[in-house]
Subunit: 409 residues, 2 copies
């Protein structure tokens, strides 16, 4: 929200909204000059000065004289978010790996660990234990704990956002798991835990820092064993009534097709998921990531069966995307996961099917792009999720720090 | 928005937002007691009194002592919107009919005309001329012109909301028609024209006054020759980048199926639209509304082929809805147009397919209901569209009236 829209409000409301606008800029872009902050927020130079001084006083940012820029007049001071002054812990539960990261206030990753696991590793107890261990291996965490704002968790499953209840995660064999509460207890870090679907978080990060930057209407498609989707509409995540929206892998595209692990038949993911790719390439469907890499390499080398397999996945991918383009009229479709690795081969095929299957008007609005944040997209999206309460109202946190200071004075 | 959320804003902003809240209540529900307004807006009794006095001063509402209610204390005065103090003209361009209506400030229809036309009537010139004529036949319009706020138009086509440009209306054979500008000129009423897709407007009115009242997440499905959709997400219409969203009839559900008038193959509407129903019932696909009524009557009477035809449409309807429920996680799916007439027969079939094809979590959130506003839903939705600028900021209009009063004083 641009600051000048806020003119008609009382000063405390204005202050909080403006602090939020600045926190988002600093978190989203890192160091910025005061002039850039003026340009990007629409706030006056003197308002920016006052707001920045609050961040500096709270030790969340520092100001440095920027390099002379060769222009007349004084160079605009550079406002630098203090990376370690506020951090989050991000966790990811994928089908065949777990990951943990610490992300700093400036949006950069301070430390990151990922461990591969056999598919279906996957009891809730084992995953919880492994995540606690993985978190314990983050060297920087003990030092940064006082600056820890919260924990964000990405999971390959259907999540109720309110309370982090995993309704179902078919690829893990989970159902009705109170993951948020469990992890808060198991991690025992004294901060809240936020849980969301991995594709929703992939969409969020591609929008903020990746292929969809600047777009307000996005469809993110994450292809792995299952196919998930993250949808952003007018700048907001489409969550649906209870956070279950975006399960695009389970649109029926071929009622005469294969049965799906969800219990239905002919779901989109039976035609475009990892197993469909491997099957079409003549490999065992359960070959996993290594087999997928083999197909990618073979297709890149022009081997017939691999190319045909990728083309067939691309055809079905395009057919399904066309339908979703007609329903959602998005600006960008971002291909993530498996599809981002295959993007150079897939995108031309998808574009072709869009020309055939999508209506001309929404077709003309949309571009198809490969995800830029690769395998870490959901993990980095989880970090954004954990930063969100702070970014929405940094004043509450500045206030809390003041209280602490007053109490200890 | 509830009034009490607005506490932290400056008085003029608060006043405008509160006037809007009251205008929406009076327009949405008709006469309300002051006590009901207090309960519904969260504003204080004295704030309500002041705001109501502005509507009364502008002749937009009147206050009457309500009937004694048998409770102790004075009965709360009844605030009655003055139906004819602010009106809109609503127009609809359907495949086989045109309609015009005048809708009053209290949300009720003052006058309504519909004329049937042969399918594909449909040059832009002829439709424009017919709409101007139809409007000319509204007896009350000359008298109400000073109170006319705007014109709302529903059309069976893909519309860019900004400027009322019809990108494509396949069932009319239109492409790139600047309908908003054309109608503004042709009607020459001196008020703005707003154009939107008929299914989007059906969704709007079902949400405000029909089967989805109280829901924030809605999928409205209008079945006619084509199948259109109106999607509401978190209380806002899902328009997409350029207003083209909701073209659910052109999701590919059966790539081995029939070719569609959009140029694609196996679109959902080729399995569930009017022609599919007639074909399955053994009637000519181009039989039109009369043939459809015949099938409905035969199915209701239990005739085998008609029942089988409805069941098959229901099966495909359910398969497609299941996919959209997985993507959108809506609270209500409203069956409109053709489907609302068949709802008692269709809904059980749709529910069955939802059980089979939708994921358990979003399935548990959703109910399927018949549209309540029947064939006039898009027309009445168009009236809401034309009322929207006034409802969003009645203060601007009250102000304008003050200026007029001051100028003529």
């Amino acid at each position: 929200m641009r600051g000048r829209e806020l003119v008609g409000q009382r000063s405390e409301t204005v202050r909080r909204a403006n602090l939020s606008a600045i926190a988002r800029e600093l978190h989203g872009r890192g160091a910025l000059s005061r002039s850039e902050l003026v340009a990007r927020t629409g706030l006056t130079r003197s308002a920016i000065r006052g707001l920045i001084s609050e961040f500096v006083a709270a030790n969340l940012a520092s100001e440095t004289r920027s390099e002379p820029d060769g222009l007349p007049g004084r160079p605009s001071p550079l406002v630098q978010p203090r990376r370690e002054a506020a951090v989050v812990l991000a966790l990811e539960i994928a089908v065949d790996s777990l990951a943990a990261a610490i992300v700093g206030l400036d949006g950069t990753t301070i430390e990151r660990l990922r461990i591969d696991l056999p598919r279906g590793h996957s009891s809730v107890e084992a995953v919880t234990r492994d995540l606690v261990r993985l978190t314990g291996r983050l060297r920087n965490l003990p030092r940064l704990r006082p600056a820890l704002l919260g924990v964000g968790v990405a999971i390959v499953g259907v999540v109720r956002r309110d309370d982090g209840q995993v309704s179902t995660a078919p690829n893990l064999g989970w159902r009705d798991v109170p993951l948020g509460a469990r992890l808060t207890t198991a991690l025992d870090l004294g901060v809240p835990t936020f849980v969301a679907n991995d594709a929703d978080l992939g969409a969020l990060i591609e929008l903020r820092r990746g292929a969809a930057r600047g777009a307000d209407d996005l469809l993110f498609i994450a292809g792995e064993v299952g196919v998930g989707g993250g949808i952003v509409v007018a700048g907001r995540p489409l969550t649906g009534v209870a956070g279950y929206a975006g399960e695009i892998g389970h649109i029926s595209v071929n009622p005469a097709g294969r049965s799906c692990r969800c219990g239905s038949t002919g779901c989109w993911e039976t035609e475009i998921g990892e197993e469909a790719l491997l099957r079409r390439a003549g490999l065992p469907a359960e070959g996993g990531r290594r087999a997928v890499d083999q197909v990618i390499a073979a297709a890149a080398a022009g081997e017939d069966q691999a190319v045909a397999a990728v083309n067939e996945v691309g055809r079905w991918l395009g057919i399904g995307i066309a339908g979703l383009v007609n329903v959602l009229n998005p600006r960008v479709v971002v291909l993530g996961g498996l599809f981002s690795n295959l993007a150079p081969l897939l995108i031309p095929r998808v574009e072709e099917e869009l020309d055939r299957f999508a209506l001309a008007a929404p077709r003309a609005n949309v571009r198809v792009a490969a995800a830029q944040l690769g395998i870490d997209a959901p993990l980095l999206g989880a970090a954004e999720l954990a930063f969100e309460p702070f970014l929405a109202d940094p004043a509450a946190w500045l206030g809390a720090r003041d209280d602490v200071a007053a109490a200890s004075a």
